[in-house]
């Protein structure tokens, strides 16, 4: 079972103060720390678990600058066998489709049974790369995957739907699954594995090497802005029983519970 995992290095924004930069199209990143995209980390763990169960290899691919090599190396330390960084130099701005195109050109020459991606990047939130990549490669896919069981030539997966429903699918391999967070418990790399991974080679490919000088850009960010502060707040009135019932209804309608 040869598995390709696509990972993205993203700024950690969950608890940081986010400010838009002077271009109005990006955020200020100087003071942010970067890490593997959350759902990609689950995809990586799932790949390593599958490899541990069934043998084979795990290949990591990331499109980005040299700085993302630490993120890639941490993936190697956790158990991936090899890694490719596609240098983003010269590509300019990339959207989901363009990234998928780059990945397609990189992956099409590899032998693989399965491609795993995260279900969404926490920085742009597009959720496009996985499904688009599958389409470009002409293989089936499933998104928001919460369980993967491999059989010979097939995979049985479960995916999350709205309203707490799960859908079970049987999919023919090779296929691509965009993994949902919480599917497993991502491990920490051990110190010995870190030392070995620090010395491992990461294959670097550029536009020419993958035969794609100009990926197709189909979307363009016009501007980024914090949402206007809302004025509407609903104050629940009445006794505890009444208000808690109403609160539960609101939670339910928003999909929180």
């Amino acid at each position: 079972m040869d598995i390709v995992v696509c990972i993205k290095r993203v700024p950690e924004t969950a608890e940081a103060e986010i400010k838009v930069d002077s271009s109005g199209k990006d955020i200020l990143k100087e003071r942010l720390t970067f890490d593997i995209n959350e759902s990609d980390n689950y995809a990586l763990e799932e790949a390593i678990l599958l490899k541990e169960k069934r043998g084979g290899t795990v290949t990591l691919i990331s499109v980005g600058p040299p700085e993302c090599e630490d993120t890639i190396r941490m993936g190697l330390a956790k158990g991936a066998d090899q890694a490719i960084r596609v240098s983003n130099e010269g590509f300019g701005e990339l959207d989901g489709f363009a990234t998928a195109e780059i990945l397609k050109n990189t992956i099409q020459d590899l032998s693989y049974d399965l491609i795993l991606t995260g279900c969404m990047a926490t920085d742009d939130g597009y959720s496009q790369v996985g499904p688009t990549l599958a389409e470009l490669l002409g293989i089936p896919h499933a998104v928001l995957v919460t369980k993967v069981d491999l059989q010979d030539g097939n995979a049985r997966v479960e995916r999350e739907l709205e309203g707490g429903l799960l859908e079970a699918l049987e999919i023919k391999l090779p296929a691509l699954f965009a993994i949902q967070t919480g599917i497993n418990e991502p491990r920490y790399a051990s110190l010995i594995a870190i030392r070995r991974a620090a010395a491992k080679e990461i294959k670097v490919l550029n536009a020419q090497a993958i035969g794609l000088e100009r990926p197709t850009l189909r979307t363009r960010v016009e501007n980024l802005f914090p949402p206007p502060v809302g004025k509407r707040a609903e104050i629940l009135k009445g006794g505890a029983e009444e208000t808690s019932k109403r609160l539960a209804q609101i939670y339910k309608s928003k999909g929180i519970i």
Binding site: D35, D70, A77, A189, L191, I194
Partner: protein, 380 residues
Amino acid sequence: MDFDLTTDQRMLQKMVREIATKELEPVASEIDQSGEFPWENIKKLAKQGLLGVIVPEKYGGAGFDFISLAIAIEEISKVCATTGVIVAVNNSLAAYPIYQFGNEEQRKKWLPLLASGEKLGAIAITEPNAGSDVASMETTARLEGDYWVLNGTKRFITNGGEAGIYVVFAYTNKELQHRGISAFIVERETPGFSLGKHEDLMGIRATANCELIFEDAKIPKDNLLGEEGQGFKICMHTLDVSRIDIGAQAVGLAQGALDAAISYAKERKAFGKPLSEFEMIQSMIAEMATQIQAARLLVYYAAYCKDKGMSRFSKEASMGKWFASEAAVNATKMAVQIYGGYGYTKDYPVERFYRDAKIMELYEGTSEIQKIVIARSLLK
């Protein structure tokens, strides 16, 4: 000159930071309040190889350098100084002297146990009547056939109540004064060895700080560490190394206090504006940050000297340990000040940080002892 961490040091830092934030921070306050030894934390860290950071791979360790160990202790201590010192003791006070002064057989026998966390390590120097004045220790060891027979009491032993392997110092020849001290590897199960009083500490409360009692304790002859009479030298050299890690513990704790103070100062409002806009608060933040940075550089430099293979780095280790421990006491004090009344409650971590900091000016040699070491190395 290069201030950048290496790739593996950066990765180690990231991994330890992650495990500290996700696994250690949520239980730090509970551990402090219960005083119960954090075995769960230690097992998790052991799994990642953090109990044998500096132990070479061939003895079951991770084979990192001393700067890496300092970084690891710093990251752990940012959220839990108790766990930080437990890991520091295992690495630099138990595994290190066995690696540095042990024979090949001893290394093979003991280091894998310590590096894997299968047995926890401790060191026993201090006694009820011998703290800074190491040479006034009263514990003795006499050779009887194939055994060394130990008698005496050790006090304030970090990890003491939970360790499985102890490096114990005792006089084998009192007449030779400090040249008559020898070091021994002692197992918990040794007949005649028992635990005494558990200390109820002000800070780092879950470190199983305990008294060790040796009453005709029989130690196999092979467990003599180094040569007979080499104990004082082993002790002083080991303390030079461990002072780097206590310095790192202090840097981590101080950084934890600064991070907490900054985020609180930005959130908390007084007189219509956030605390962070008041110059007296800014002055404290600037002072804390600068002292921490200076402390970190001193500590890393001491570790660098050790990694470079310099035979003497007592001065550098003492400078780092002294400055960092005082920076930690100052930073944690200021953090409580910035939090105001809330900082004095157990609802926030800064009161714990403040209590944890004080020990750093006391153990591994008081601040006064560090100054003596520094001055003597300059004046000799």
